[in-house]
Amino acid sequence: MKIEPKQIEEAAKELYIRALKLLPPDVKQGFDALAKSESDAGAKRMLGTMIANIRVAEDTDNLLCQDTGIPIYNVWIGRGVEVDGVAMKEAIRRGCARATREHSFRSSIVHPTTRVNEQTSTGRGVPVIHVDFTDEPETLAIEMVPKGSGSENNSWLRMAVPAEGVEAIKTFVVDCVLEAGGKTCPPTIVGVGVGGTADLCVHLAKTAATRPLGTRCDDPEGAKLEQELSQAVNMLGVGPQGLGGDSTAFAVHVETAATHITMNPVAVNMQCHSARRARATLTPKGLAYGF
């Protein structure tokens, strides 16, 4: 199966638009679950407004949140797929810029020191593009995540040492949730990376934060941590918007990787309640959009 850059460009453009406007069904279900279990009246009202906003965005064909985020594209190339990798990355960049221009999206991307905004949602190294492989035959999947800054600004890495054990990981996550307070637009998905190198650990945290709600870490040790930490952070009472309540996090997600005998790294990256993402799948049957 040969994939042309034009198809990728079109998908990259459409994915940015869809991600900004349509919240994935698992996140909507997450809202319904929190709204049911929330015991604080003010927090319940706030969750109700957040749910109403999802409907208003759909009814008015508008963006869920004004923050167009840092655009991230995750690409998985299946077996038997022929694609020019360099052309693919250029096509993603073009699609991202076209969505911004053609739909009057706010370009949220500036040079880190001059702060110059090219008004295209692109810049040096942005969009962030990750390319990986899958054993799915004749499939190329692209996930788009417009990562909001309120949650991204609350990201942490701690290079704990082996003598501190798993307790260091647990304590760190609880302290990060306390430190974030209302700044991350809770309820959040708390993404936790455990193990790896410093950079891999942070990447794992991002993967965890942007994983669909209801999914589990495929490492049983990670899955156990997810369950324990989800309960613990929701005991803190930070609540929606940091204004109190039971609904601090939809869930804590954990991703793990092996690490060095001398290392015990832990990273936290959060996703706000507007946990946006969109997915395109290219197969011989054509292009399909989903989440």
Binding site: R106, E167, L178, G182, M235, H273
Partner: protein
């Protein structure tokens, strides 16, 4: 827990009537302000031609569309999606906004810290919380972009919006020293030990 319908500019006496957990709905003028706007105003000596005295500012950088200037779009911009950003990054600008420009209300999300609480207490101001991430809804409360200043900073320009039924919003920090964020933060820190015990952390 009173409800206040406000049409800025408002007086110090009016803002001192606001108490945390009260609600506010705004009508009329609302100014949009952001990191770069305030960095340029307070660190780089730039001035705005707008009179912010007695007004409300909201922490925002909107999505807008350039259009022909008309009665409906006097600034040549149509709103696309207007929402609110995290206030905490702009903590150090609350005092100069109030002292140099006479701002009375800051609307934002996630809260401000002690220096802002002190400014609200001393000069007469309040922080009003909007629910972050609900921009599609918020946009329906904005009638028009009436004017814009410092537009070379776009999207972090200084925007003048005309709003109708903008709310209800929650008074989260008042001029009497109360802050819902500080209360929740302190209660959450008090629960830290119990959360760690649940996790089996000694």
């Amino acid at each position: 827990m009173a409800h206040h319908e406000l049409r800025p500019p408002i007086s110090e006496a009016q803002v001192r009537l606001l108490r945390v957990n009260d609600t506010v709905t705004l009508n009329g003028t609302l100014y949009g302000i952001r990191d770069a706007t305030q960095i340029h105003m307070f660190d780089r000596g730039r001035k705005t031609r707008f009179d912010l005295s007695g007004h409300a500012v909201i922490h925002t950088a909107p999505n807008v569309r350039r259009v022909e200037k008309s009665a409906a779009h006097p600034a040549g911009y149509a709103p696309v999606c207007i929402g609110t950003t995290t206030s905490d990054r702009m903590e150090r600008f609350t005092l100069p906004l109030m002292r140099e420009y006479g701002v009375r209300l800051v609307i934002g999300k996630g809260g401000l810290r002690d220096a802002s609480a002190a400014a609200f207490r001393e000069l007469g101001g309040a922080y009003v919380a909007i629910i972050g991430g609900t921009a599609a809804l918020e946009t329906t409360w904005v009638e028009a972009i009436e004017d814009v200043d410092l537009d070379d900073l776009n999207p972090e320009s200084l925007w003048r919006f005309r709003v109708k039924g903008f709310g209800p919003l929650l008074v989260a920090m008042d001029s009497h020293g109360a802050s819902l964020y500080a209360e929740v933060k302190s209660a959450a820190r008090a629960r830290r030990a119990a959360a760690l015990a649940r996790l089996g952390v000694r």
